[in-house]
Symmetry: C2
Subunit: 140 residues, 2 copies
DNA sequence: TAATGAATTTAGAACAGAATAAATTTTAGC
DNA sequence: GCTAAAATTTATTCTGTTCTAAATTCATTA
């Protein structure tokens, strides 16, 4: 099992490769707001645990295992963003909150939140009713 | 600002004092599944930061600041438990998930989740509809 | 193809939180 | 009050992640 920090790296590497075809140390460092030397160290660990294949100075490629996990992590991240957006959390809080909680929810919870998103997407009146409650709560 | 770990301790101390009138090092250790020596160290830090007053070997009392925060933390924890329960997360996952995410959500998100709980409590049909979606999703 | 600047890696230290083991203090039973 | 057991504390070590600073490798271009 990857640690939360390892998940951050795998997720970000997956996104970078999806977007640009490759993931350089410096890109990863920038995206995660850490120093390049931290990336190198973590990438060595991810190689040892076989989430990716890393060649010193040359770059890295996700393994099948790494890709599979990366894909799920990105899905989870996006779902949580969607969820917070739907229930009306301010944009400025969404990214940090998702970043904080994504590593700490069971897949059971993720699936239930998926159903919940579905629930609201299926019928606009539900969101309307929720907004109504928020207006009421805000006035108190 | 307390760190997540500090929040765990403050929250648990608040609960113990609420339940039994006091919080011994060994009770805190047991409740948080850490060793007593770790509790001592953290309690010293919480004393320095004025969340509580600690007297070596004798015990501790929350300050006004500690009580106020403890109360909010317990409220937040309970709300998140309620939320996961409502959306159908299995009991066996609820505690760990709440424990994991409670320290990482903005109060904006907490408030929106509060509204959401309200939304479902207000009308049983809403929960029914959600259950329906879950049944459907489970069959696929 | 040699030099320079950019990117990467290594080595070592910091930091937070927790563990272990040993020492100290408190509490209970006699 | 004294002693044994329980609770607590101290001192030290460990783990995981990050940082800094220095060394190395790579890439460009002249």
């Amino acid at each position: 099992m990857p640690t939360p920090s390892m998940e951050d790296y795998i997720e970000q590497i997956y996104i970078l490769i999806e977007e640009k075809g490759y993931a350089r140390v410096s890109d990863i460092a920038e995206a995660l707001s850490v120093h390049p030397s931290s990336v190198t160290k973590m990438v060595q660990k991810l190689d040892k645990d076989e989430y990716l294949v890393y060649e010193k100075y040359r770059g890295l490629v996700l393994t099948a295992k790494g890709k599979k996990i990366g894909k799920r992590l990105v899905f989870r991240h996006d779902l949580l963003e969607q969820f917070l957006k739907i229930i009306g959390v301010k944009d400025e809080n969404i990214y940090n909150d998702v970043e904080g909680i994504e590593h700490h929810l069971s897949w059971d919870s993720i699936d239930r939140i998926g159903d919940l998103v579905q629930f609201f997407e299926e019928d606009d009146q539900r969101i309307e009713a929720l907004l109504e409650i928020q207006k009421r709560a805000g006035e108190e």
